[in-house]
Amino acid sequence: MQSGPNRSVVITGLGCVTPLGNSVLEFWNALLGGRSGAGPVKSFDSSCYRTHVWCEVKDFTPHVQRTRGRAAQLAMAAGKEALLSAGIEPESEGLMLGVSIGTTMGEANFLDRLTDTSHDPVAAPWAEVLTHSAYSITSDVAEGLGIEGPQASLPAACSAGNYAVGLALDWIRQGQSDLVLAGGAEAFSESAFAGFNRLSAMSPDRCRPFDRDRQGLLLGEGAALMLLESEDHARRRGAQILARVLGYGLSCDAHHITGPHPEGNGAAACMRNALNDSHADAMDVGYLCCHGTGTQQNDRIEAMAIHKVFGEGARRLPVSSIKALTGHMMGAASAAEGIACVLALRDGVLPPTCNHENLDPECPLDVIPNQPRELRVRLILNNSYAFGGNNACVAFGAWPGVAQK
């Protein structure tokens, strides 16, 4: 197997289950059509909370046995779609296929049951809590799809999807794998709903990234996985290539466990690291898919970081946040946004920031408002930030001749 820092890595398959739809096609059509995945909480009684809206995966039928957690079930469905779209049969002889999945809360539905039973130590699902830790999402997907190569579970909170894609890139570059199914998975968690409510980070109605009147984020759930493959392997088997993965960057704020660095140092550093890893310059970037949670602090600091990296060019760089429609899918968020980046490169159309009415003067950016923008670009950055100060940014590049429009 070839290896080296310059080994070209491409994307040949995509799969997702999201509040906007349970396939890549439904997801992309909803993003471009401005159809929101938000709705009232139905999974539990939200009357005791300040907010009552979130973004749920709908009409999802698991393909796997019930004992697996919901996050694994979502990831399994996304993984199947990605492999099918890439024309990969995981159990093929000699296939060096790995799997790398990020998450924030792990299999939260088992953990959430502690709330109901913590008064009764015997009844509490202690064994399930241990055996359905975050790593069970990856191992369940590997087992369910018959993936024998390297496995990784990356609990990097809301940057986890980008972390997983980044590790996949390194695995392929370093010759540890030819193909890696990489992304994120998150099942809805009442713990997260309670926690973000108490942090006053949740919007009572809509998510409005970069808007002057934004009130916070909406939580969501889902899974998004993409198949990364070495270009030489993809060419050998005649795969349809959708885009390149050019590089990624990581950094840590080392400042506050939930809040970003006040000057956006870490956020800027990870964008610069991604550009360096891609051997690219800020001038090469044609679109930036923002973390854009819709909280006051996140959007303001992210805008500041973008200005640090792009200088005056920041005002002309098209940016958007799809979280206005998907909600914040936490561990799956940046992976779903990565899929949007790949499709934007493929189709020459940039997804909008919906619910956007008045640009916050503290976020002086070219926020694509409400309607998609037709623009063919060559390089896209995908930002993600997380609790723990975990910042990750992935750079995607266009694949010549892949245009669908």
Partner: protein, 360 residues
Amino acid sequence: MRAWISAMGVVFPGGKGRQAFARAIVRGESLAKASRLRPEILAAEMEENLKPLVERRGLAVLSRGAILAAAAIEDLAAAEPWLLEEQVRAECALVVGTAFGHIASRAEFHQDARRNGARWVSPILFPNTIINSLAGHAAILFGLSGPNSTVTSGRRSGLEAVIRAATLLTAGRAPRVIVLGCDEVSQTSLRGLDSLREGAWDAPELAIPPGEAAGALLLEAAGPPPARSIGRLLGAAERSSVRKGVSRAVEEAMRAALADAGVTANEITHLSLSGRYGGGIGQAEAEAALAVFGGKTPRMCLQQVLGETFGAQGVLAIAAELAVRNEAASEFSPAAHWPEGPFLVSSAETTGATCAVVSV
């Protein structure tokens, strides 16, 4: 997959620091005693109050696991104070391996929600319910601004962290990485283990007490040796048990790690196995070791001293070997008989196995 190991830090129920750790390992006596959480069982636990172990402010909001992690890093940095100079720590990465690092905090959060109502659950408790909070808190305490990552794969977590750190170094994403293995004993983990054991804690065949500890290793990029080094990662490998079972996964991981290191099974002077908790997993690991190394290579199991430390095991196993070998030249006479030459550390789980070959 190669890297220099230039420093280590450790906190464990027998104390803090390389020398105390080496003595405990060579002595080989179990540190388990009646659990402070459940006196009817044996556990290798630290003191209830861990804060005196860390001479830093800001510990009030940290979970027990995060304080353990901070104590191990502080021990490491005490030996290598240059590590915390501004320019160095700004580039230093941190990779944490933990199996259950957030479980107790999650249970605490739920109990608080039940006590005060979900609407009034403490917002301070929430961040610790997220698995990467150990790494995040450690980065804040020590100002580590390089890549910050958490991995979790049960008992394989510690060695997986070593491999991910080596990957970061090979990719040039950081000049040095602190690798941390850490897990705590909590009511939640004890109850979970109780359920999994399907039997009494004092049953002889299951008499492996849970343990808590944290180990930290400083890895630096392969190439010219750093100013000081205590060991060298020669190779590593991980193999999944999907479709092949645990025993074959361990055997393949051992053989692949040897191949990656460029050494033969005969050159390995010592094996450190992850042990027998989990019933068939330990047996599968022993069978694999027999198939690869025969019966003559001396072996140890950290469980004998520290109990089952889960996500900390792999890092602690490397630290144990390095501590003993690096202390042997001093006044530490019992260690004189410790084998020299490269050693192999194995971590087995239901999901597969991870192995590393290290030399001094």
